[in-house]
Symmetry: C2
Subunit: 130 residues, 2 copies
DNA sequence: CAGGATCCTGCCCGATACTG
DNA sequence: CAGTATCGGGCAGGATCCTG
């Protein structure tokens, strides 16, 4: 059970700071591309092009931006291997792995309740013919 | 541990359908307003105006839209009490409560690792003076 | 009080073209 | 191959005004 106490504001940061930080991290989960990219890296290292092909529908631009953000947060590492053609590999850090585990837990909640939610939606739409 | 098996596509739905549904539900978590609204309802029923005041910064419009979506998904109930002035109360359903619990687990991950992530960011920004 | 309806703006993101 | 740079459309969402 989650404690009802405040998230320990810690010295030097306001409670609002904590809230914004947590929200920003949560938005990582909500971000379609972030989760998909992290998920692809679950089983090991992948190159840029492999990720590009694995994550269906993502544009080069968004893949780059997503990877930069995740690298910045320390959720994955970017390794450039010298030579031609260039070769850049991406790997989850341990931090990234723990996030993925938590996200998967939430994904299982979503998977478990998807039918219930779909039913709710159908009922609502049927009752609200706007 | 999360099973590596596919999320049981179930008869009548493709694997892509499942993926899209799960992603859409995950985006609920990432959505700033949804999480904040659900969080406010943790300890019981609140009226529209109370939510409006509790969730700092949300506009009337976004609060309405957020509440509608959550009601549609069956995460909360909307109860209109006749009379003047109007009185509309919002309460989490059990489904909503279970989602909140999962989200809180993720929030605790974020809270736990916020300093580590902040440090990573500072390091990255220091190393990439673009 | 609890919202509709409307206008308007910023920015997100995809498409495209170019480079080391 | 693995990106950067640039342009542009779409739409999320804030501000404002109006009702039952």
């Amino acid at each position: 059970m989650a404690p009802r106490t405040n998230p320990s504001p810690a010295p030097g940061e306001s409670e609002e700071d904590v809230c914004r930080q947590v929200l920003r991290i949560l938005s990582l989960i909500g971000d379609k591309w972030s989760i998909l990219v992290i998920g692809q890296l679950r089983d090991g290292t992948l190159r840029f092009g492999e990720l590009h092909r694995a994550v269906t529908g993502i544009s080069q631009r968004m893949l780059t931006l997503t990877l930069r953000q995740l690298e910045r947060d320390g959720l994955l590492t970017r390794t450039v291997h010298a030579g031609v053609p260039p070769r850049v590999e991406y790997t989850l850090t341990e931090l990234g792995t723990t996030l993925l585990d938590s996200a998967i837990a939430l994904g299982e909640w979503a998977t478990t309740h998807r039918h219930e939610i779909n039913d709710n939606r159908r009922r609502y739409d049927a009752a609200h013919p706007s």
